[in-house]
């Protein structure tokens, strides 16, 4: 019995010190989180403060560049009294719907095209030149072509959002497929995978971080596409709100609408990041961030 007792106590000491170490690690994480939030807020406050000051002293002409307080007033009016086109949330909803449809169609199309061309060299050699041509078409011109072809309804805005998203996603999906590790593909082939199974279980997972990177940036682009579409002609939506505000020399209105758009983008960004963390949970942490 006496022989065992020192070992037990030694183990107890170890376990206690591990608990302490883990507690310390957790506290460190919490502190870091607080630091990040604090810094973000600090930057925001400094930025808005300088802007407001500049506007007050006419260094930044609020007629052109608005002022934070003016923007806030405008948002408040829109929230409480609605906009000239109806309640604010309807405008947000309309734009969000167009954006979302365009984003999904563009992303799915871009991923599909990227994978198909990435997997098939001949198709890639033949078609990539046409994709490059399409990508150099100015979107604003495309906008009027879409309005002629698809009308002034939702379809033309969605189409514009699609063409904003498609090329970015395509380029990344295509390259992601090309970068897939050849040893891994060979292994899957030998294990008995059909070309389709290889695409599904090897190519797509390895291109995933490429695709996700493009989705991050392209949701913002989809939003831009939808807004530009509304700019060119619409009954409702954030783009029309901006266009009206611009026409009335209402800089506060223009900036207020842009801030609402930014908040929309951030919310969706948050969702994409969640999805990303779920998808790439297999990924090794960098050295030094491992263990506890």
């Amino acid at each position: 019995m006496t022989a065992i007792s020192p070992t037990t106590s030694q183990a107890a000491v170890r376990d206690a010190s591990i608990a302490v170490a883990e507690g310390r690690a957790k506290a460190r994480l919490r502190r870091r989180h607080a630091l990040v939030i604090g810094l973000r807020l600090a930057i925001l406050v400094v930025f808005l403060g300088l802007w407001e000051l500049g506007a007050d002293h006419n260094i930044i002409d609020p007629f052109f560049f608005a002022s934070p307080s003016g923007i806030w007033d405008q948002i408040w009016v829109w929230v409480t009294e609605g906009t000239s086109q109806g309640p604010l949330w309807v405008q947000i909803y309309v734009t969000l719907e167009e954006t979302f449809l365009g984003f999904v169609i563009g992303a799915v199309g871009g991923i599909a095209a990227g994978i198909i061309l990435g997997r098939n060299r001949l198709l890639a050699d033949v078609f990539s030149i046409y994709i490059k041509i399409a990508n150099s078409v100015p979107r604003v011109v495309l906008g009027s072509v879409f309005i002629i072809a698809l009308g002034l309804g939702m379809a033309s805005k969605v189409a514009l959002a699609v063409v904003m998203v498609f090329f970015v996603v395509f380029a990344n999906a295509f390259q992601g497929v090309r970068e897939a590790d050849r040893a891994m593909i060979a292994n899957a082939q030998i294990l008995g995978a059909s070309p389709f199974q290889i695409t599904r279980t090897v190519i797509i997972p390895s291109a995933m971080s490429w695709i996700l990177a493009s989705l991050h940036v392209s949701f913002g682009f989809a939003l831009v596409g939808a807004v530009v579409g509304e700019f060119l002609g619409a009954k409702q939506g954030m783009g029309l709100l901006i266009s009206t505000a611009q026409g009335a020399f209402n800089a506060n209105g223009v900036f207020a609408a842009m801030i609402i758009l930014a908040v929309m983008a951030l919310v969706v960004e948050f969702i994409i990041t969640r999805f990303e963390n779920y998808v790439v949970k297999w990924r090794p942490a960098p050295f030094n961030e491992q263990g506890t």
Partner: protein
């Protein structure tokens, strides 16, 4: 030194005097170095002018009134047209609309909300006994998108300018409901002349640059006289080919129909500004409850002095 002027669409017939002056070489004759910059969005042009990046703008007169309500002073020094040059077209699919009084329940196309076409359309409706809310306004821009909106029956009627008018008339997809291309018909529709296309500058700039302003006025007035004394054909010949690359006949035809809107001497018609104020103050939120000094929105001094 160099003078930069923004034109709200160089290829538009309503702004034709700007490019024509350049083409005729009148600026050079005055010893001016003028650079024309195209900008289709009127707001952009005004913002640039206010920011002091350019010296003048060729655009609609009503902006001078609107901007005064926001505490910014700009003045028209040469008035190009005494009619808006706009036409309210009605789609061939809707023969039941015979006058603005039939707009009830219809969707009216305008170039943009808050634009001149917006105010003019509403004014036409109200003058014919309708209330705001009886009709819907849809911003469809000009040109192709306007035509597409008519074709797709998204608007039953709409206000636009040449060459969109000519195109729709030619294909028979629309007909003229209210014509505001001549001073007479404008008076009939709005109750007075409606000064539209003009050359305006910042009042502050004008103070210090009387000399340049005079030279500019000289050049433009000569152009106005040229227009008054030449046929549409002859004017079209002077314009860059790209402006009528689509269809020259249509261009000439439109010009012949709309030539009458131009003032013969660049002078502001005396009863014009009040009409504009009347139209604007009925609908523009920013004008409501504001006192507008119309005498600060234009001047005929330079036109008068022009030889």
């Amino acid at each position: 030194d160099k003078i930069t002027i923004i034109v709200g669409g160089m290829e538009k017939q309503i702004y034709l005097p700007a490019v024509l002056t350049q083409q005729l070489g009148y600026f050079k004759d005055q010893g001016l170095d003028v650079e024309l910059v195209n900008s289709r969005a009127g707001v952009e042009a005004e913002n640039e002018l206010l920011a002091g990046a350019v010296q003048g703008v060729v655009g609609f007169y009503d902006h001078t009134v609107d901007l005064q309500s926001k505490g910014k002073y700009i003045q028209s020094i040469v008035q190009f047209s005494q009619a808006p040059g706009e036409v309210e077209l009605v789609s061939a699919k809707h023969p039941e609309i015979k006058s603005p009084a039939d707009f009830k329940g219809a969707t009216l196309g305008v170039t943009g909300l808050g634009s001149s076409t917006d105010f003019l359309s509403q004014y036409l409706a109200v003058r014919n006994g309708l209330k705001p809310g009886d009709y819907t306004l849809l911003p469809v821009g000009a040109g192709n998108t306007f035509i597409a909106a008519v074709k797709q029956d998204q608007i039953q009627a709409g206000m636009t300018t040449e060459p969109t008018i000519g195109r729709l008339l030619k294909t028979g997809e629309a007909s003229v409901l209210v014509d505001m291309r001549t001073p007479e018909k404008t008076k009939e529709a709005l109750g007075g002349p409606y000064p539209a296309a003009s050359f305006y500058v910042q009042s502050a700039w004008l103070e210090d640059h009387k000399d340049e302003a005079q030279k500019l006025a000289n050049a433009f007035v000569m152009t106005m006289k040229f227009i008054a004394t030449h046929s549409a054909e002859e004017i079209a010949d002077k314009m860059p080919k790209d402006y009528y690359a689509g269809n020259r006949d249509l261009y000439v035809q439109g010009l012949a129909g709309g030539k009458a809107m131009f003032t013969p001497d660049g002078r502001m018609p005396a009863d014009g500004p009040p009409t504009v104020l009347k139209v604007l103050s009925t609908f523009s939120k920013s004008l409501q409850g504001k006192q507008i000094d119309l005498s600060k929105t234009y001047t005929t001094t330079f036109v008068d002095a022009a030889k």
